[in-house]
Structure formats: structure tokens, C-alpha cells
């Protein structure tokens, strides 16, 4: 009798909690994979595709699915460190096999620049731009909206007349950084 009672009590408790869990799983269902959004927030959003994925979000998804974390060339070491911390994996050196061209000499941000007299108005670069930062129409000269350009480099290759080049942003007092070298710092042993 006691055993039956115990079974009954425990069984009913199990049923109650089961129902509770079932309700919670339906009521508090998380639609998106939050880790993907977190990863996406860490990526630089240049949408350059150098990782081999068509944008930052797809790469974030891929990383969440187990892709290597070291494929984001624009993000560099910092981004890799952050992703490693988030994913709980080892920091890896940047995989340069996906990067296009040689590694830049300076890390100053670059933006695309249309040499306007050479532009034939083919609209190829407009189609390549992942962030719609190029304005122009067919047979009209195109130009880059500097503030919107992510410097992803994707418009350079499609240009049939090679009139797009990547230029460093000029130093202004708005983006100027205090240079450590101007303040002599002696490293102590």
C-alpha cells in the first residue's frame, strides 16, 4: 500500500513537472540561435566575404556550427580572440588563405575610391557592393559614399577598367589617435 502511495505521489509530481517543463519549452521558446547573434555582433560587418561566406551573418552561423574561428581577415586577431572567448575554444592565428591579396602594411581603415574620369558606368561595382555604398546608374559615372564604405574590396575586382582603388582615410582631428610613440615610453626590465 505504502509503495503504491509512493509511486502515486512521485508519479504525480513527475507528471506535474513534466507538464510544467513542456509548457515552458513552448511558452519561452527561443526562435533564433542566440550564439549566432552574439557572434555576428563580434564580426566587423564589412560583409567582405573573405571568410568564404557571403557576409558576416552566414559566417557567424558557420562558426556556431563548428567552422574555424580564424577566417575573418578584417576583424584580425582581436575578433578571433573575442570569438574564441565566446565559443570557449583556443585562439588560433589568422588563416590568411582566404584573405585576398597581401596583408596590408598599415592598419589604417581604407575605403574604395572611384577614379571618376575612367569610370564607364557599367554598374558592375554597384552590384558587387554588399552595403549599397556606391551610387551611379548605367552609363553614368559612379562614386563611393565614403561614410558607408566598409572597405571590403569587393568592388575592385569586377571593375572592367580598373578605376576603383582602395585608399586610406585621411587623418583628421576627428579620427586622430594619440600616438604612443609621441610620448616616449621606456620599457622597464
Amino acid at each position: 500500500m505504502n509503495i503504491l502511495l509512493a509511486i502515486l505521489v512521485l508519479g504525480s509530481i513527475a507528471a506535474i513537472f513534466g507538464a510544467l517543463l513542456g509548457f515552458a519549452s513552448v511558452r519561452f521558446k527561443v526562435d533564433a540561435d542566440p550564439i549566432v547573434d552574439q557572434l555576428d555582433a563580434l564580426l566587423p560587418q564589412t560583409q567582405c566575404g573573405q571568410c568564404g561566406y557571403p557576409g558576416c551573418k552566414p559566417y557567424a552561423q558557420a562558426v556556431a556550427d563548428g567552422e574555424a574561428i580564424n577566417k575573418c581577415a578584417p576583424g584580425g586577431e582581436d575578433t578571433i580572440k573575442k570569438i574564441a572567448a565566446l565559443m570557449g575554444v583556443e585562439v588560433q592565428p589568422l588563416d590568411n588563405s582566404h584573405a585576398q591579396g597581401e596583408t596590408p602594411k598599415s592598419n589604417r581603415p581604407k575605403v574604395a575610391f572611384v577614379i571618376e574620369e575612367d569610370c564607364i558606368g557599367c554598374t558592375k561595382c554597384i552590384q558587387a557592393c554588399p552595403v549599397d555604398a556606391i551610387i551611379g546608374a548605367a552609363k553614368q559615372m559612379h562614386t563611393i559614399i565614403i561614410d558607408e564604405c566598409t572597405g571590403c574590396d569587393l568592388c575592385v575586382a569586377p571593375c572592367p577598367v580598373d578605376c576603383i582603388e582602395m585608399r586610406e582615410l585621411p587623418d583628421t582631428i576627428h579620427n586622430w589617435q594619440w600616438d604612443l610613440t609621441s610620448i616616449p615610453v621606456k620599457q622597464l626590465d
Binding site: 555576428d40 564580426l43 566587423p44 560587418q45 564589412t46 560583409q47 557576409g55 558576416c56 554588399p130 552595403v131 549599397d132 555604398a133 558607408e148 566598409t150 587623418d171 583628421t172 582631428i173 579620427n175 586622430w176 589617435q177 594619440w178 604612443l180 610620448i183 616616449p184 615610453v185 621606456k186 622597464l188
Partner: protein, 770 residues
């Protein structure tokens, strides 16, 4: 509460802020000398942006002659503050030049060649303040280009735009930084003007009380202001104890009111507005005398100068001109360091052409004894000994040494936690540091990097939004395209079903063809069923035959329909199209014409048909009973004749005939049995092609020949691959004609086969099985 504060202030009791230092004041160098009026420099360099915010739009161009006080830029947005010509002259250049910024970077500057006349533009002096409304006063302040002159350079007109419930208007005359006496002298010499400026602010802001805060190391200034404000109940002159940085906005508020302005909040949130005394003076000048902000008092000081003094410097005056006026000592073998701003918060300027701007209050030229650190190339920084003096003196109650570690480690999230943004860059921590760590420099670097990172994050966010928007747009466009295609297809269908002559023509042709095919199939099927019910292989064969036949006829029908449509629509080349339409109407066989006349249209179908026909011909060739197909081939020949007749170009026909002849010649060599017949046929076809209107009677005689030719050809192909068949020959001469002939042959063969089938089904089943 406000009353209790006032009570406390009148008793001369003030609160205190945390930390602070008492560096040597060094104000004696300039405090006792009057403000010097300078001669006009030869050239002024006026930066377009001299305040926080954005530069205005240029109003002048190179070569323009401008009068004193004339606006050079136009502010179209509240954060844009205009600049004015400090004296009359000609604009010689508008180009990048080094500005008063620690980076030593260049910015757009107007170069004004002074003509020495100092001619004013027309000014309307306001005799009575009461005549002006608040908005007019604010407009005047805005037009005069006044930005906070204490150091930050925030546009004043934004700060004075009336806000409700201002408890305190604090006039900051503390001037806590060592060496600087500019505000001190201004209060001494122009106390009335300063007080008039305060009155204008009073009119605008309507504060409960006005507190003029002056440090107790300026007794003359205190006296002057007290005299000027003696009969104004509202204004209280507060003599605050000297301590650096008592002149900091938040620190001064704490000293006077005991309130701490919370992190991330502005004094206005607590009902407090603070203005510098120099700003008050400028406001008075602007409102009463219509004089824009074109000059300011600058303390030019330091022991490297023979005559350190406060001067009235026009904005845009290069520093080297000021130094010349104050007789700077030349230093051997070394560049004289020049510090803009005070010794605590100032920065070394990289060029002596750096101009005076609205926020420059001091030029410090120290001697080597006075400030040895300014002459040192290398920092004497040693490791932090954790003495904690820096946190003792920090007026913002931060932890400077922890900040320093985090700044060196670039741990920005930790810096955020340590409230780096509340650091006012006062330099007290670096001043007391026994390890001579330039703490403020580290903070400045970290702040700049954090700002940069924030901008990057913002940009990344923007890029993300744009990327997403683009993806969405592309998706939409794709869907729209598909929709359009669907609609177009539907429209086409609708057009077909409509009663337009074209559509009906095309439809009827198609329908007719289909009907014919069906009828044929049905009759054939019936006949076959009647004849060959017991033998299943025969059924199978007839089925196959039916299938092939229907395919061919369907192809023909389609081609014909298309042709007709074209002919009707275009209505060009009347002779050919008419003859075509005639033949179309007259006989079902004329379907062939359409197909052959439009080889490109029926191209594929014709090929298929030809292939089928060839296969059948092969079968036929195997069967020995050629003669049985005689009757059938008669029809075929007549068809072919019609086809040829319809073709207008004799040239093409001749070529086809030649090709056939060639093929036949080869076949002849292979199959000698039919040699004679072939010869006749070739001649006959040549003749018929030469004569555009060859009739059926002529071809009747050679009825059996084409089918035989076809059969022979296939045989030849089988036995000898090298031998070229007529279709190949035709393609060499004319691809179109090649197809035509192929089709004709195929049709003929198909018909022959049909007849053959009907005549001797048993034999045919044998062939099929083979």
C-alpha cells in the same frame, strides 16, 4: 534648499570636492600687468572650426576683401558656429594649415592678409536691451560666433536657449590653472562689461540666483566684480578657496552648491548653467556693440619670455607673433617648447604658426629651470609603486592607477567599469605621481581609442543594416521578377484565347492539325485493330508507328501554325506568302511547305522526324518487298513535288537536287541493282527544280525513286560509314535546304511505311522484331 545654499554662501562657507592639488601658481608673472593692445599682425590664419561641433559653410573666396567683423562662414545648424574676420584685409588663401590641436594635424584655414586699415563693417549698436526679445538676443549670440571660452568651446547659444527652472547661473571666474591670468585681468579691467554680460544671461535664463565664483587668489578681480554688482541683489560673488581644479565645471558646482553632478549627466539636469567670465564679456560685446567674437585675452607667460603679459589677441594671430611681442629668449641648439593652454591641461604645439582660437587662453613658454620635463626627449617614467597618491588627488574620485594599468593593457571594458569617461583630464594624478607616470596621456589615448571603437561599432551596425536591407531588396526584386514572368506568361495565354485574327489563325491551325492527327490515328487504330487483333506483336508495331507518325505530324502542324502566324502578321513578300497561304488552304500536305519554308522553326522537329524516317527506311531496306510500297511512294513523290514547287528559290532546289544526285551517285556504286532508276530520278529532280511549276504527273513516273533513294542511302550508311549521305551533302551547300529535303524524305518514308504496314502487316512485324 536653494535658500539654504544661498545662506551658506553669504556666510562664506563652501563645500569641498574630493582631492585636488596646490601647484605653484606662478600667476604673479602676468597678474599685475594690464592687458596689452597689440599692433596688427601681417597675416591671420583663421581655422574654420574653433569649437566643438562642425565647421560652418564658407562665405568668402580667395581674393575677397573683407571688413572687420564680417562673417566668413555661415552656420546652418546649431552645432555650426560662424567665424568672422578679425580685421579688414584680403583673403590670400584658403588651405590646410596646422591648428591648435595636440595632434599637430592640419585643418582648413582662411589666410587673411591684413591691410592695416582695421575698417569695421556696419554695426548697429543696441542702446537698450529692453528692445530686444530673447530670441533676438540668442540670434545675436549665435551670429557673433560665441563658443565657450573656458576651454571646451561648446556653442554658447545652445547653452543659453531658455530652459525652465534654472536655480543657479554660475559664472566661472575661478581660473584655477597655474600661470593663467586672462580672466583675472578681464574681470579687473572690464568688470562692468562682464557684469553687463551676466545681466544679458540673467534676462535669457531667468535663474533664481547668479553666483560669480572667483578663487581667493584674485583679490583685485573680486573687488572689481563686487563693486560692479554691488546693487544687484541676485548676483552673489563667491570667493572660493584656491585649489586645482576648482574651475572644473562639476567641481565648481560641488564647491558652491554641494551637489554632485552624477556621472553621465549634465549640470542643466540639476538646474544649473555655467558660463565663463570671458564668454560673458563676449556676449555683452555681441549683443550691445554688435561686435562678433574676433579677439580674446591670452596670457602669454613663462620664464622664457622677457615681457610676459596678457594681450588682446585677434583670433587667428600666429603664436610666433605673440612670442615676438613678448620678447622670447632664444635657446641655443634646442627648439623652444611652446605649450598651448595651462601647464596642467595644455599641450605642446608643433608649429609656431599655430593660430590663436576661441578657446586658447594661455601660451606658456617655460624656461628649462621652470619646467624641465618640457625639454626632455624621454620620459622619466618608472614603475608604479602603488602609493595611491593619485587616487587621493583625483577630483572625480576615480582610481588612476587601476585606470593606468587597464589603459596600458587596452582593456577597454575594464576602463568603462572604472568610469574613465568621468576623467576630466585635469592632470592632478600625473602631477603628484612620484614615478612620473604621464597618467593623463594614457587616459587620452584610451579615450581616443574607445571613441574610435564606438565609431567603428556604429559603422559596423550601419553596414549590417545596409547589408540586410540590400539582401531584402534583392530578394524582393527576385520575387517581383518571377511575378512579372508569370504575368507575362498569363498575358500570352490570354492573348491566344482572345478573338484576334492572329490568335484565331494560330489556334485554328493548331487545332486543325491536332484534329487531323487524331482522325488519322483513330482510323488507323481502328483498321489495325480490325486487321491485326490476334497478333500482339503487330499491335505493338502499329502502336509504335502511330506514335512516330503523330509526332511527325504534330511537329509539322506546329511549324505550320507558326508560319501562318508570321505570314499573316508580317504580310510582307506578298508573292511567297500568298502562294503559301493558298497551298495551306488547299491541301493538308501543304503543311510540309510551312515546315520547310521555316526551317529554323521546325528545325528540331524536322531532325527528329528525319531520324525516325531513317530508322524506318532501314527497316524497309531490310525487307525484300520493295515493290509493295510502290503505291505508297507515289503519294510521297507527289508531296515532295509540292514541297519543291512551293520553294521559290530555284537556286536552293538545284543545290538540293545536286546533293541528292551526289548521294545517289554514291549509292549507285553500292547498289547496282537500282542504278538505272536512280539516274532517271536524279535527272527528273533536276528538271523539276529547274521548272518552278513541276507537276505531279512528271514525278508520278518516278514514283518509286525517292523512297528507294532513301532506303539506299541508309543502306549505304550502314555498310559504308565513309560515304556521305545526301543530308550531309545538303548541309554543306545549304543547311536549310538540307533539313527540307530530309523532312520531305522522312515524310515520304513514313507514308510508304504506312502503306506497307497496311498491305502486309505480318512482314512488317518481322521487320520490327528485327
Amino acid at each position: 534648499m536653494v535658500e539654504s545654499i544661498i545662506e551658506r554662501i553669504t556666510r562664506g562657507h563652501f563645500w569641498d570636492f574630493h582631492g585636488g592639488i596646490h601647484p605653484p601658481e606662478q600667476k604673479f608673472l602676468t597678474a599685475s600687468k594690464p592687458i596689452k593692445q597689440l599692433t596688427l599682425p601681417k597675416q591671420l590664419i583663421i581655422p574654420l572650426q574653433q569649437h566643438i561641433g562642425r565647421e560652418g559653410d564658407l562665405l568668402v573666396s580667395i581674393g575677397d576683401h573683407v571688413l572687420k567683423g564680417q562673417a566668413l562662414t555661415l552656420g546652418t545648424n546649431p552645432m555650426m558656429v560662424p567665424i568672422h574676420a578679425p580685421t579688414s584685409g584680403t583673403i590670400s588663401a584658403i588651405k590646410l594649415s596646422v591648428i591648435a590641436h595636440p595632434s599637430g594635424l592640419s585643418q582648413l584655414c582662411i589666410f587673411l592678409d591684413v591691410d592695416g586699415e582695421d575698417t569695421w563693417r556696419k554695426r548697429d549698436i543696441c542702446p537698450d536691451l529692453g528692445l530686444l526679445s530673447n530670441s533676438e538676443i540668442i540670434e545675436k549670440i549665435s551670429d557673433a560666433g560665441i563658443a565657450g571660452m573656458g576651454g571646451a568651446g561648446f556653442p554658447t547659444h545652445i547653452k543659453v536657449s531658455s530652459k525652465p527652472d534654472i536655480n543657479f547661473l554660475i559664472i566661472n571666474g575661478a581660473e584655477c590653472e597655474p600661470y593663467i591670468t586672462a580672466d583675472d585681468l578681464l574681470m579687473m579691467e572690464h568688470s562692468d562689461a562682464v557684469v553687463d554680460g551676466i545681466k544679458i544671461l540673467d534676462k535669457l535664463l531667468k535663474p533664481a540666483f547668479i553666483l560669480v565664483a572667483i578663487e581667493d587668489n584674485k583679490p583685485k578681480a573680486i573687488k572689481a566684480i563686487q563693486q560692479a554688482t554691488a546693487n544687484i541683489e541676485k548676483i552673489k560673488v563667491c570667493v572660493v578657496p584656491t585649489k586645482y581644479p576648482a574651475g572644473g565645471e562639476k567641481q565648481l558646482i560641488q564647491i558652491l552648491t554641494g551637489q554632485e553632478v552624477a556621472s553621465g549627466r549634465l549640470p542643466i539636469h540639476s538646474g544649473i548653467v555655467m558660463q565663463n567670465v570671458a564668454t560673458c564679456f563676449a556676449i555683452n560685446e555681441a549683443v550691445r556693440h554688435d561686435t562678433p567674437l574676433i579677439r580674446r585675452v591670452v596670457t602669454v607667460t613663462g620664464q622664457a619670455l622677457d615681457k610676459p603679459q596678457n594681450v588682446w589677441a585677434l583670433l587667428g594671430t600666429p603664436i610666433n607673433f605673440l612670442l615676438e611681442q613678448c620678447h622670447v629668449h632664444a635657446i641655443e641648439n634646442q627648439k623652444q617648447p611652446v605649450i598651448m593652454g595651462g601647464p596642467m591641461m595644455g599641450f605642446s604645439v608643433s608649429s609656431e604658426l599655430v593660430p590663436i582660437v576661441k578657446t586658447s587662453n594661455c601660451i606658456l613658454v617655460p624656461s628649462k629651470v621652470e619646467m624641465p620635463s618640457a625639454f626632455e626627449k624621454e620620459s622619466k617614467e618608472v614603475e608604479c609603486i602603488r602609493c595611491g597618491q593619485c587616487s587621493d588627488v583625483c577630483p572625480s574620485q576615480l582610481l588612476p592607477q587601476e585606470l593606468q594599468w587597464s589603459a596600458k593593457a587596452k582593456d577597454y571594458s575594464q576602463l568603462e567599469k572604472l568610469n574613465l569617461r568621468d576623467c576630466i583630464d585635469c592632470g592632478a594624478c600625473a602631477y603628484v605621481c612620484p614615478s612620473q607616470i604621464p597618467l593623463v596621456h594614457y587616459y587620452r589615448i584610451a579615450k581616443a581609442e574607445i571613441r574610435e571603437q564606438q565609431q567603428l561599432d556604429l559603422k559596423a551596425e550601419k553596414a549590417k543594416v545596409r547589408f540586410e536591407a540590400r539582401k531584402l531588396r534583392l530578394e524582393k526584386e527576385k520575387i517581383a521578377r518571377q511575378e512579372k514572368h508569370k504575368k507575362a506568361a498569363a498575358a500570352r495565354k490570354a492573348a491566344m484565347n482572345k478573338a484576334t485574327p492572329e490568335a484565331t489563325g494560330a489556334k485554328s491551325a493548331v487545332a486543325a492539325a491536332l484534329a487531323r492527327v487524331k482522325a488519322k490515328k483513330a482510323s488507323q487504330g481502328l483498321a489495325q485493330n480490325r486487321d491485326n487483333t490476334p497478333t500482339s506483336p503487330a499491335d505493338l508495331s502499329t502502336d509504335i508507328a502511330d506514335d512516330q507518325k503523330s509526332q511527325v505530324s504534330a511537329a509539322i502542324a506546329r511549324a505550320k501554325a507558326k508560319k501562318k502566324l508570321k505570314a499573316e502578321a508580317a504580310n510582307k513578300a506578298p508573292s511567297s506568302s500568298e502562294s503559301v497561304s493558298e497551298t495551306l488552304k488547299s491541301k493538308p500536305e501543304k503543311e510540309q511547305e510551312a515546315a520547310t519554308q521555316q526551317p529554323s522553326v521546325g528545325d528540331k522537329k524536322a531532325k527528329i522526324a528525319a531520324a525516325i524516317a531513317k530508322a524506318k527506311a532501314k527497316k524497309l531496306a531490310k525487307s525484300t518487298e520493295i515493290t509493295e510500297s510502290d503505291k505508297a511512294t507515289v503519294n510521297c513523290i507527289s508531296e515532295k513535288a509540292v514541297v519543291e514547287k512551293a520553294v521559290n528559290t530555284d537556286d536552293k532546289k538545284a543545290r538540293v537536287a545536286a546533293a541528292i544526285a551526289k548521294a545517289k551517285a554514291k549509292n549507285k556504286a553500292l547498289a547496282k541493282a537500282n542504278a538505272k532508276a536512280v539516274d532517271e530520278q536524279s535527272i527528273e529532280t533536276n528538271e523539276s527544280s529547274a521548272d518552278g511549276n513541276s507537276n505531279s504527273t512528271k514525278t508520278d513516273g518516278n514514283s518509286s525513286q525517292p523512297s528507294q533513294v532513301a532506303q539506299e542511302n541508309t543502306v549505304a550508311n550502314k555498310t559504308d560509314n565513309i560515304s556521305s549521305n545526301p543530308s550531309l551533302a545538303g548541309s554543306k551547300s545549304n543547311a536549310a535546304m538540307d533539313k527540307k529535303s530530309k523532312i520531305a524524305a522522312a515524310i515520304a518514308k513514313a507514308k510508304a511505311k504506312k502503306k506497307l504496314k497496311e498491305a502486309s502487316s505480318i512482314e512488317k512485324t518481322d521487320q520490327d522484331s528485327v
